[in-house]
């Protein structure tokens, strides 16, 4: 019994060889193997059945011929007509080419007439001895000419002797061999047809597969313009279809990726320039306001120093204090613009409310707020983003929209946080989805929201005002930035 390991080993070895050949060879091998197996199996089966059938027929023939000979020779033996017996044997032998010998024994079992003449093969006489009650007795023996079927029939119930006729296998063997060779020839023919058809079959099967492989290589190199012909409406056809679909999807995805990369590059540029702008503004503010204020304070201090009388000194000191307070406010505002402490101190909702109040105060635009206090639960980085979006949007409203009214809504709607800033300003022409064309502000908002896994929408028409909407999932992604 072959152990499982060695069986596995042999299977692997077989597959190492069989798996390495081309599909053409595989199909060829399968078809040839099946045809040859079928042909050889069928041939062996037919050969066996034919052989058996012919042997049975020979047995019947042997019994009938020998019985007939026995009855025809009875009188001849009884009246001792040896010549007629001799003629009978010769005639019978001529009529049946399968007969190898005829042997007529007298009642004492001694040869009376035989086709061997005055001699006998050793052992033949004793080989097949029927008893007088037997109707016949069959016996098979081997000889240099192949096997021989010996039929023995008692003549006149054995009172006149025994008729023995030997039938040789040659005609059976010849017929069986002829049928076998014809079957094998047919197998060869079918094998040839099998080879041709398998070549055709492999061509049909491998052509789309090879086309797919070529196209896949091209796609791998980044060429997404590949289109594979759908040859047939079968599994491979389906595969081709899927491949084409995949290529198209890949092309779209590649385009989207390129666009995103372009936007990212643009954004980095804008971030850097925005940083520079911010620094420039801070520098300007420091130079224009704080430095000027400090210069003015130095002038004021000189005035205090040069004041002669107490009332004028007091006045100068009072002015100086006033000047210092104004300067301090300016510095505070600058610091707030950089980072609103109010967000840290008050929370998101209060911070937005406070900012809206500030804008109303500073710009005169009437701003209505409807803010859900539950939105304070937002994580800090999300809260900062929401605040910055609200800040940017409101700043845009104040700076550009020439609106008289604005509405801010922040709420928790069906598992999402939704921020909406609407105004009745002049609006602008926003192409659908083009949220980033309006510079860093809008694009920055969009990018920030997207990073948190949310969506950003911008609706605007000329003269119809603008709606900015940011929707965040309840548990926004961690800001990777």
């Amino acid at each position: 019994m072959v152990s499982r390991q060695s069986w596995l080993l042999w299977t692997r070895r077989f597959w190492a060889v069989a798996g390495a050949v081309s599909i053409r060879t595989k199909i060829l091998g399968i078809i040839l193997g099946l045809v040859i197996l079928l042909g050889v199996g069928l041939t062996a089966f037919v050969r066996q059945s034919l052989y058996r059938a012919m042997y049975n027929e020979l047995e019947l023939l042997a019994v009938s011929v020998t019985s007939d000979l026995a009855s025809r020779s009875t009188d001849l033996i009884l009246v001792n007509n040896l010549y007629a017996l001799y003629e009978l044997t010769q005639e019978t032998r001529q009529n049946y080419p399968d007969i190898r010998y005829i042997l007529i024994l007298d009642k004492n079992g001694l040869p009376l007439v035989s086709t061997f003449g005055n001699a006998l093969p050793a052992g033949l006489l004793e080989a097949n001895q029927p008893s007088p009650e037997d109707r016949y007795r069959l016996f098979v023996f081997n000889s240099p000419e192949g096997w021989v079927l010996d039929a023995a029939v008692p003549i006149f119930d054995g009172r006149a002797g025994v008729m023995r006729v030997g039938f040789s296998e040659t005609s059976i063997t010849r017929t069986v061999n002829m049928v076998t060779s014809q079957l094998l020839l047919a197998t060869l023919l079918v094998s040839t047809i099998g080879i041709l058809s398998s070549i055709f079959l492999t061509w049909v099967l491998t052509r789309p597969i090879l086309a797919l492989a070529r196209a896949a290589q091209m796609v791998g190199r980044g060429n997404f313009d590949q289109h594979v012909e759908r040859w047939a409406d079968d599994e491979i056809g389906e595969l081709s279809e899927s491949f084409n679909q995949m290529t198209a999807d890949l092309r779209l995805a590649a385009e989207a990726r390129r666009e995103r990369e372009r936007l990212r590059a643009e954004m980095v540029e804008k971030v850097i320039s925005a940083q520079e702008d911010e620094r420039r503004r801070i520098a300007r503010d420091l130079h224009d306001q704080t430095s000027q204020a400090l210069v003015s304070l130095i002038v004021q201090l000189k005035l205090v120093e040069s004041a002669r009388d107490k009332p004028s000194r007091s006045q100068a000191i009072a002015d100086l204090r006033e000047q210092l307070r104004a300067t301090l406010n300016d510095v505070r505002r600058m610091a707030y613009d950089l980072r609103p402490g109010v967000l840290d101190d008050l929370g998101l909702t209060q911070a937005i409310q406070w900012f809206a109040d500030q804008c109303r105060k500073n710009s005169g635009v009437e701003i209505q707020t409807r803010i859900d206090a539950a939105c304070d639960n937002l994580p800090p980085h999300a809260a900062t983003t929401v605040y910055r979006v609200a800040q940017e949007a409101l700043s845009n409203v104040v700076k550009h929209s020439r609106a008289t009214r604005a509405w801010i809504t922040l709420g928790n709607i069906s598992g999402t946080y939704c921020l909406e800033i609407r105004d009745n300003g002049v609006g602008f022409q926003a192409a659908p989805g083009q949220v980033h064309s309006e510079g860093l502000g809008l694009f920055g908002m969009h990018e920030r929201i997207q990073l948190l896994g949310g969506t950003f929408e911008l609706e605007s028409e000329i003269g119809q005002g603008t709606i900015v909407r940011a929707i965040l999932p309840c548990s926004p992604k961690e800001n990777e930035a």
Partner: protein, 312 residues
């Protein structure tokens, strides 16, 4: 995966084994070289020489074996010596065997006896008595549907003779034809020899012949064994009695053996075994007959012999 491969291979091998194995497996048969011939060694003479008894082909060879086996067995038992039955296709051959001493005793036909007596002095050992008389007749038979009433009506027809030497089967009908101043060759349309009486009877019964002359004893014997035959034939003529076919011996037989055999045959009906053997042959007993008892037959033969010498 390998498991499933294993199953398919197993099934494949199973298929091949069932198909191919029986082709290879044949039980070992003995071996005889048909070309290595060894001469047949001549049979050694039997230590006790059997008594050879010839029986003329009055009935077919197989019928002869069936009918005479009991009688021969009885003789063998009485004689204390095996008896061998010898048959020959024609009466002439049996005569030849008697003449040469190749057989000791022969059951011959009357015609053959007369010829043998003339040629080499064939002697009568005994003769059977059937139905109370030691004589027999020649009966002319025709198929049951035949319109023939006498031999004259068979002119131009097919006639079956038994043996050329048969008294009842050939000589008597030939005699009748000559009585009508004709010859068998011209009188009958066609004639053929059957070489035994039962075959002649069968020939008429089966319509092969339009008529035949047969031994009355054989006819009765056959009708008894096969009663249906009687419906298929008619007897249209019966001859006067002739001396019954005798048991003969060669003139050169040892007198002691001759006497012994004669005693066995003549006393056979007194022994129960002998009686049943006789019954098988429809024989009452054996008696001794003289050559003169065959005079009527002899006359007929002489008549024919004269005709033969007269007609060139």
């Amino acid at each position: 995966m390998p498991r499933s491969y294993g199953w398919s291979l197993f099934v494949l091998f199973g298929f091949l084994i069932t198909v191919l194995l029986p082709a290879c497996s044949s039980q070992p048969a003995p071996y005889i070289d048909l070309n290595a011939l060894t001469p047949i060694t001549p049979q050694r003479e039997a230590e006790i020489k059997p008594l050879r008894v010839a029986v003329s082909a009055v009935i077919s060879p197989q019928g002869t074996v069936e009918s005479y086996t009991l009688l021969l067995d009885y003789i063998a038992e009485q004689l204390g010596r095996p008896v061998e039955l010898v048959q020959r296709p024609t009466y002439a051959e049996v005569n030849r065997l008697v003449e040469k001493g190749d057989v000791d005793v022969a059951f011959v036909c009357t015609g053959a006896y007369l010829l043998g007596e003339r040629e080499f002095g064939m002697e009568i050992l005994a003769a059977p008595v059937v139905d109370g008389e030691a004589a027999y007749h020649s009966w002319l038979i025709v198929p049951a549907d035949s319109s023939a009433q006498s031999l004259a009506d068979l002119r131009g027809k097919t006639f079956a003779f038994t043996d050329p030497l048969s008294h009842t089967g050939r000589l008597y009908p030939t005699y009748l034809v000559y009585q009508m101043n004709d010859r068998p060759e011209t009188f009958f349309g066609r004639t053929f020899f059957t070489y035994s009486h039962d075959t002649a009877i069968q020939s008429v019964a089966n319509g092969l012949a339009d008529g035949a002359a047969v031994d009355s004893l054989i006819y009765i014997h056959l009708i008894q064994r096969e009663p249906s035959l009687a419906k298929r034939m008619r007897v249209i003529h019966k001859s006067p009695p002739f001396g019954i076919p005798p048991v003969v011996v060669s003139p050169n037989i040892r007198p002691q053996l001759r006497a012994e055999l004669q005693a066995i045959l003549l006393s056979m009906h007194e022994n129960p075994t002998g009686q049943s053997a006789l019954a098988k042959l429809d024989i009452d007993r054996f008696v001794t007959l003289e050559s003169s008892d065959y005079d009527s037959a002899r006359e007929l033969e002489n008549f024919l012999a004269n005709i033969a010498t007269e007609t060139p």
